[in-house]
């Protein structure tokens, strides 16, 4: 009998992908909760690797009519010592009991593995930059290509065959290129005619053949290429300033917290917004713009002058990012230590220069692990910012003293808000 062997290994293996996406979509709220929960006690690097999560099973239950209770009968293999009429105690010993029923056993949690992309997508899903409003038409983004008619030049792979043949046909008709059938007919006639006619016909055939040679079937002028045009669409330009205090008063733990926060911010922006410029500024009593590598890894130490960082930011805004065209965001991390004399400068810089042009300004105060630093007194910077805040400045402020607080605080700061609601703390 005929037998077929089919090699299916080359077929794509992800036939279930669509179903999986449906499942994820359906369980989104549950999964998101699980993702946020599981990310709290993990390192940022690990978070981005995806991993196993578990969601409560009842949320995704598929109910069926099934029975429970009542009297049960079961036949089991492997009797060793029982005889008819024995009574077995209900708990323990007879293990067959639970599985004998076979129906109701289930787990209370449903575990599965999310891929890296799925995980990060879900993690950042409900976050966004607030107030991304200023759209400058000049800045455009290449979104891809679209068909835009035909061109006389182009790459061979883009030849528009039907258009080319149409044009060539038109040209051949216009120039009266002899058809091959005409010549064939003429040659047939030559075979069957007398001598006098023959020379004449042969000359005629020769002329036609000559004409065919002169008028090519397809001439370079016929050839058309499909033309593609890059499509562009305006995008919102945004810039995020990351201001980090690296002064001596910041302990290693604080720096670590701040860096983690910025790492998260950095990943979030890179992933969700392709057009966000990021400016890294670190400061002691002097401020400098640094690259990403130095920002996250470079060591530095010194006194503290917050105004230095703010004026550096202001300088950069003025020279490179026109507030009319750019959505400007800033996130500042500090331990809150600042010299009292600096307070006025900071306050003036913020209220007059920076906050008016910013969409959103987040302040993250990092504290010692035990958290005792906060309870005793509010830091100078915190007091100052809170005053500004109550005056209605678009300023959000949060405190962080433990590593596992970073994710919730981050979520809180960039939570998606209603469109009408301003970014208020």
């Amino acid at each position: 009998m005929a037998m077929h062997i089919v090699d299916r290994r080359l077929n794509s293996g992800s036939k279930s992908l669509e179903n999986r996406q449906r499942f994820l979509r359906r369980a989104k709220a549950l999964i998101q909760g699980a993702v946020n929960k599981s990310s709290q006690d993990r390192d940022i690097k690990d978070v981005l690797e995806g991993g196993e999560i578990s969601i409560p099973l009842d949320g995704m239950n598929e109910p069926r009519f099934r029975r429970e209770g009542g009297t049960r009968d079961m036949v089991l293999p492997g009797n060793k010592k029982f005889v008819e009429g024995d009574m077995l105690p209900r708990s323990g010993e007879v293990r067959g009991k639970a599985s004998g029923a076979g129906e109701g056993d289930g787990e209370d949690a449903f575990r599965f593995i999310l891929s890296r992309n799925e995980f990060v997508d879900l993690f950042f899903d409900d976050l966004e930059l607030p107030d991304l409003a200023k759209r400058k038409p000049a800045e455009v983004d290449n979104e891809g290509f679209r068909r835009a008619g035909y061109a006389t030049s182009g790459s061979p792979s883009n030849i528009a065959v039907s258009r080319t043949v149409t044009l060539s046909l038109a040209r051949r008709v216009a120039l009266r290129r002899p058809r091959s059938e005409t010549i064939a007919k003429l040659e047939a006639d030559i075979m069957n005619c007398d001598e006098a006619e023959r020379t004449k016909l042969m000359a005629e055939a020769e002329a036609l053949k000559e004409k065919i040679r002169r008028i090519p079937f397809i001439d370079p002028v016929d050839i058309r290429y499909r033309r593609f045009e890059p499509t562009r669409k305006p995008v919102a330009q945004a810039v995020m300033f990351c201001l980090m205090d690296v002064s001596g008063s910041m302990s290693e733990h604080m720096k670590d917290l701040a860096k983690r926060f910025y790492m998260l911010l950095y990943i979030f922006l890179k992933r969700r917004y392709r057009h966000v410029e990021i400016v890294f500024i670190r400061h002691t009593d002097r401020a400098e713009e640094v690259d990403e590598e130095t920002f996250f890894r470079g060591p530095a130490s010194g006194g503290t002058l917050v105004s230095a960082a703010l004026s550096a930011m202001h300088e950069i805004v003025r020279s490179r990012f026109r507030p009319a065209d750019w959505n400007i965001y800033a996130a500042q991390a500090s331990d809150g230590d600042n010299s009292n004399s600096d307070a006025d400068v900071v306050s003036r810089l913020l209220t007059e220069m920076i906050l008016p042009v910013s969409q959103f300004f987040a302040y993250l105060e990092v504290g010692e692990a035990s958290g005792n630093g906060f309870d005793m007194s509010e830091s100078t910077l915190w007091l100052l910012y809170r005053r500004l805040c109550s005056d209605g400045a678009p300023l959000s402020m949060r405190k962080v003293s433990e590593r596992n607080e970073i994710f919730p605080v981050f979520h809180d700061l960039f939570r998606r808000r209603g469109s009408l609601q301003k970014a208020v703390p």
Binding site: M1, A2, M3, H4, I5, V6, D7, R8, R9, N11, G13, S14, S16, E18, N19, R20, R22, F23, L24, R25, R26, A27, E52, M60, E62, P63, R64, F65, R66, R67, E68, G69, G70, T71, R72, D73, M74, V75, L76, P77, G78, N79, F82, V83, E84, G85, D86, M87, L88, E93, V94, G96, K97, S99, G100, G104, F110, R111, F112, I113
Partner: protein, 514 residues
């Protein structure tokens, strides 16, 4: 005699020629020696990932899209990746040609086992067992699934994914009660099914006339004209196939929703015989692969080493942990099936006195294959066990029967064991465990309140005091009410018609925004 038969393969490696050779060698033995009658075979080689895929669409190569399959996939994948679960060596589909999936990482020996097991054992069973003949249409199933898949996609495009998903969710919840248990007038023909679905839709579109909406309705019929007898007759009550009833009689479903219910119902019906023949089906396939591989080894076409490898896998497959073993999870259908087939072989060819007494019809007739083929064709698990489980096998497996009455405070009673007094009781109880009619709850539609609020009334005949699990029952009833679009009530009654429990559910949403 020194006829040197050529080995089918050496070592563990194989290629497609090897598979072909193995298949041909197996076929030779299967047809001439075992007398099997099979569908043409199609063997497909797949990867582990594809095997996982197949797991999650009920083993079928194509299936409509639904989130629950994705859920299953995510779950299985997590288990598989953690190494908690191995994958099956093969999946076989009851279709013509009979499709067997082989995993690419199987060794040549394993491929031989799998080909003998699936492509001949299961294949023969599918083609010859009366349940499969009656309830499935092997020629049409793949086309029908293809139709189902594209129909669901089409519905999603026309009516939105949400609406389709809600309907399918509801239908899935009722799937176990969407089965006809008694054969109808004519054989199932899935190709015609598909054609008719298309014709129905076409007719509806052609016959659509908005004027019908404006035609005045006549005076309402008096309630007396619909007395209970007539009403039940009109609605075909009582009806235990809930999906069928809804498809035909739910007042407010759209035609595409009826078609979806129909698809789910057909799929459930297609799998119905498999649930009733687990022991026999696996027993047949295991017996066949054992016979074929043993013969191949005798012929010298499989080396001793490879044969040992085969025996090892075979032993794993038919391993039965005892009830107090931590690995115990019910009776292994492979073990029971294979043991019974071998036992029958023994009874037919070399019976003891006891066997002559218990099985006068087959003992000592000597026609092993004819007897087995007849059994394979005409029984299902329940009848097979109640007819052919021998005292000797009961002793061998040391079976005993426990009776657990929750009212009995002293504990669980050992009702019968593998002795002279207990054989029949043990056998009867074991057979009953495989009777889907007993395993599934018996729920039927009994009436519809047509004169009043159109409430749909269901009744669950409680057996041995086992009520429905409440949380699940409520959810299923909600799904049912959604489809019915009016209230649904369910009463649970015992054998004396005493109502034990009552449920009422109202539709949450109108799925069909008419």
């Amino acid at each position: 005699m020194t006829v040197l038969t050529e080995r089918l393969f050496e070592g563990a490696d194989w290629d497609f020629q090897t598979l072909q050779r193995i298949h041909d060698a197996c076929e030779d033995i299967a047809v001439t020696e075992l007398g099997l009658n099979i569908y043409p075979n199609q063997i497909e080689v797949i990867t582990a990932e594809q095997m996982l895929d197949a797991y999650c669409s009920a083993g079928m190569p194509l299936f409509y899209k639904h989130w629950s399959f994705g859920k299953q996939f995510a779950h299985q994948e997590a288990f598989y990746r953690k190494g908690l679960m191995g994958l099956a060596y093969e999946i076989v589909i009851n279709s013509s040609p009979c499709i067997s999936y082989l995993m690419e990482e199987n060794t040549a020996t394993m491929q031989s086992l799998v080909i003998a097991h699936a492509a001949f054992g299961h294949n023969h069973f599918f083609k010859n067992n009366y349940l499969f003949k009656q309830w499935t249409d092997a020629e049409g199933i793949l086309d029908y699934l293809e139709f189902g898949k594209s129909y669901v996609t089409q519905c999603e495009e026309r009516h939105g994914r949400e609406a389709v998903e809600q309907t399918l969710d509801a239908a899935h919840a009722l799937m176990s009660h969407g089965i006809d248990r008694y054969p109808g007038k004519k054989k199932l023909d899935l190709r015609a099914e598909e054609r008719r679905a298309g014709e129905r839709r076409l007719h509806e579109e052609q016959a659509f006339n908005d004027l019908w909406r404006t035609v005045p309705t006549g005076p309402a019929k008096s309630p007396e004209s619909l007395n209970i007898e007539r009403r039940r007759k009109l609605l075909g009550l009582p009806q235990e196939n809930l999906l069928y009833f809804l498809e035909k009689s739910a007042p407010r479903l759209q035609s595409w929703q009826r078609e979806l219910l129909r698809i789910v119902r057909h799929v459930a019906q297609y799998f119905y015989p498999q649930g009733q023949t687990k022991v026999m089906n696996e027993g047949t396939a295991t017996y066949v692969h054992y016979r074929i591989l043993t013969r191949l080894h005798e012929q010298g076409r499989i080396s001793d080493g490879n044969f040992l490898e085969f025996l090892r896998s075979h032993t794993n497959v038919v391993f039965q942990p005892e009830f107090d073993d931590p690995r115990f999870s019910g009776i292994n259908p492979y073990t029971l099936g294979f043991a019974m087939m071998q036992d029958i072989e023994r009874i037919v060819s070399n019976p003891a006195d006891e066997d002559r007494e218990w099985f006068p019809d087959i003992a000592g007739t000597g026609e092993v294959m004819a007897t087995l083929r007849d059994i394979w064709a005409n029984y299902r698990d329940e009848s097979f066990i109640s007819q052919f489980l021998s005292p000797r096998l009961m002793r061998q497996m040391r079976m005993f029967h426990l009776h657990d009455n929750p009212d009995e405070s002293a504990g669980i009673r050992v009702d019968a064991i593998h002795d002279e007094r207990g054989y029949r009781a043990v056998r009867r109880e074991l057979a009953r465990q495989y009777d889907l009619g007993v395993v599934e709850s018996n729920i039927e539609v009994v009436d519809v309140d047509l004169a009043g609020n159109r409430r749909l009334m269901l009744r669950h005949a409680v057996v041995k005091g086992a009520l429905l699990a409440e949380a699940d029952a409520k959810q299923v009833l909600h799904h049912l009410a959604d489809l019915w679009s009016y209230d649904v009530s369910l009463v649970e009654v015992d054998a004396n018609d005493v109502v034990l429990k009552e449920y009422v559910a109202s539709p949450r949403i109108t799925i069909a925004a008419a």
